[in-house]
């Protein structure tokens, strides 16, 4: 055990849904301020793991502990995967961030300069000032994402959970948001656990990686985890970790041969956008 209390400890967490095992003995730990990618393909159990950390899904066995020994509460910020905010709600982006601050309190909010400043500062931090006064349901997917990140962060949580926050973003916004989250996690000392199916945009920023396949996980530093032996053992069959043009691709064995051949034939085609 580390000397500093971990921001999040997941120990041998198992979840079954509809009689099917979705998570099997997932274990890892996050230190305060750490930036961690939760990587896995569609259906690997990323959303389920995040919801289990939030306490929305009950564990069948194992344990999940937050820094203060509690489960979900004021110290966890969350941005869900499916965010299509209702255009019929009379809420501005600003109001959504304010609801992140004290939305669980009873009674209407009294006007307060401090509150307004905190909201303003957060809007600025995520670069949402330009659309702060527009109806939130009418914003684009990426804009809503930024507003929700602000909503989650404004309470200064010790742990921030983001489910596929990069899925709606263009290449430039992806880099921007990753850099932003990285910076905010440092500034606020919040551990960030961010799910994605593609690890590449996160590679420069990640302190740790939790790699999920069929509900099992390995965790560690990216260079320790993203290796042919480690991932082959996780998947239970041989996969190759292929590096092409600065991108990491995990592929099943035959597919990896095809990729090598393709790269040899036509390097530009498989090379990704930088």
């Amino acid at each position: 055990m580390s000397t500093v209390a971990a921001a999040l400890t997941v120990e041998r967490a198992c979840v079954e849904l509809g009689g099917r095992p979705i998570l099997r003995e997932v274990s890892f730990q996050l230190a305060p301020g750490e930036f961690c990618g939760l990587i896995g393909s569609n259906g690997s159990g990323k959303t389920t793991l995040l919801r289990a950390i939030l306490g929305f899904v009950r564990l069948d066995s194992g344990q999940i502990r937050l820094a203060d020994g509690t489960t979900a509460g004021r110290l966890v910020g969350y941005v869900p995967q499916k965010i299509a905010l209702d255009p019929g709600l009379p809420l501005r982006a600003r109001d959504v961030v304010a609801l992140g601050l004290d939305g669980a309190r009873l009674g209407p909010a009294l006007p307060s300069r401090r509150r307004a400043e905190q909201v303003e500062q957060m809007l600025h931090a995520v670069g949402a000032e330009a659309f702060a006064d527009q109806r939130v349901g009418l914003l684009s997917g990426g804009q809503q994402q930024r507003v929700l990140v602000a909503h989650a962060l404004v309470r200064r949580p010790r742990l921030l959970l983001l489910d596929e926050p990069l899925a709606n973003l263009d290449v430039r916004s992806t880099a921007e948001i990753v850099a932003l989250l990285r910076r905010l996690s440092r500034e606020y000392g919040a551990a960030v656990l961010l799910s994605a199916h593609d690890m590449n945009p996160l590679l420069p920023a990640m302190d740790r990686i939790v790699y999920l396949a069929h509900g099992s996980a390995v965790a560690g530093k990216a260079e320790e985890v993203v290796r042919t032996e480690v991932l082959s053992e996780l998947y239970g069959y041989h996969v190759d970790v292929v590096r092409v043009h600065g991108r990491v691709v995990v592929v099943a064995a035959e597919a990896s041969d095809q990729i090598r051949a393709a790269v040899a034939r036509d390097p530009v085609h498989t090379a990704s956008v930088p």
């Binding site: 509809g18 009689g19 099917r20 209702d86 255009p87 019929g88």
Partner: protein, 265 residues
């Protein structure tokens, strides 16, 4: 209960149940429980007006149904579709209240219109309802697949078929036609139970759409028969049993899907 004078009632009720069960499948798929309630109830003042004026009730029903389709489809364009149904219902019932209070009549026949009336059915009524039903079922059969696709995702249907506004129109029109057929029998307040209850149960028992449709029709017919028999035996209003049997269908569906999730895998 099977006396000769009841034959027409049984026939009519069966036809009504067939059509309600079929349209009910689409009501559930398209999440249109509220319109399915608002159209029949909103048409009731039409029938009331017709009986005050001494014209055919079906005509009054039809006119108000058409108005309802028009108003609902226009108002639905806002962000809250369900508001359209609520406003139409309020508007039409307000007109009904005005009619009743100006004429100063509260006839027992209106109670029948609200809560259903299966006795005293004439042969002509059976024939006209049968003709209308065949029409409704034909249109539904014709548009079954586009309607289903549109229920799954309006955007998918729009991509595949071009404009889908017309599908909503067709759906509402068929809902209106079913209303005209069913209101005099089951009553304006309870027609939609016959659509929602059986259809919501049927989809819990199968993943295949057309089987669910068939199941919906079968359950609907069973509900109507059961309701008439119980009403005959107890002498209580038939609407009570239509409502209760619809709820029973729904509960069985809920129980079944809860069980199915637990067993899956």
């Amino acid at each position: 209960m099977f006396a000769p004078f009841m034959v027409h009632a049984w026939l009519l009720a069966t036809i009504v149940a067939l059509v309600s069960g079929a349209i009910g499948f689409f009501v559930v798929a398209r999440r249109a429980a509220f319109p399915a309630h608002a159209l029949p109830l909103g048409a009731f003042p039409g029938a009331a007006a017709a009986s005050l004026l001494g014209v055919n009730q079906l005509l009054g029903l039809a006119v108000f149904c058409a108005l309802g389709v028009l108003v609902i489809s226009q108002l639905q364009r806002g962000e809250r579709r369900e508001v359209a149904s609520a406003l139409w219902l309020a508007l039409s019932l307000a007109a009904g209240v005005l009619l009743l209070s100006l004429s100063g009549v509260y006839a027992q026949s209106i109670n029948g219109l609200l809560f259903g009336q299966v006795l005293g059915v004439s042969r002509e009524q059976v024939v006209s309802v049968a003709v209308l039903s065949v029409g409704a079922l034909g249109v539904l059969a014709l548009f079954a697949r586009p309607l289903l696709l549109d229920s799954l995702s309006g955007e998918l249907a729009a991509a595949a078929l071009g404009r889908t506004g017309r599908l909503e129109w067709i759906f509402l029109a068929m809902l209106a036609l079913t209303t005209v057929i069913a209101v005099p029998v089951v009553g304006a307040l309870l027609v939609f139970t016959l659509m929602v209850g059986p259809a919501s149960a049927a989809r819990a028992f199968t993943n295949r759409p057309w089987r669910a449709l068939a199941g919906s029709v079968a359950l609907s017919v069973a509900s109507v028969w059961g309701a008439i028999a119980l009403a005959y035996l107890t002498n209580w209003p038939v609407g009570l049993f239509v409502g209760l049997l619809g709820a029973a269908c729904y509960v069985s569906g809920r129980l079944r899907s809860a069980g199915a999730v637990a067993q899956a895998g």
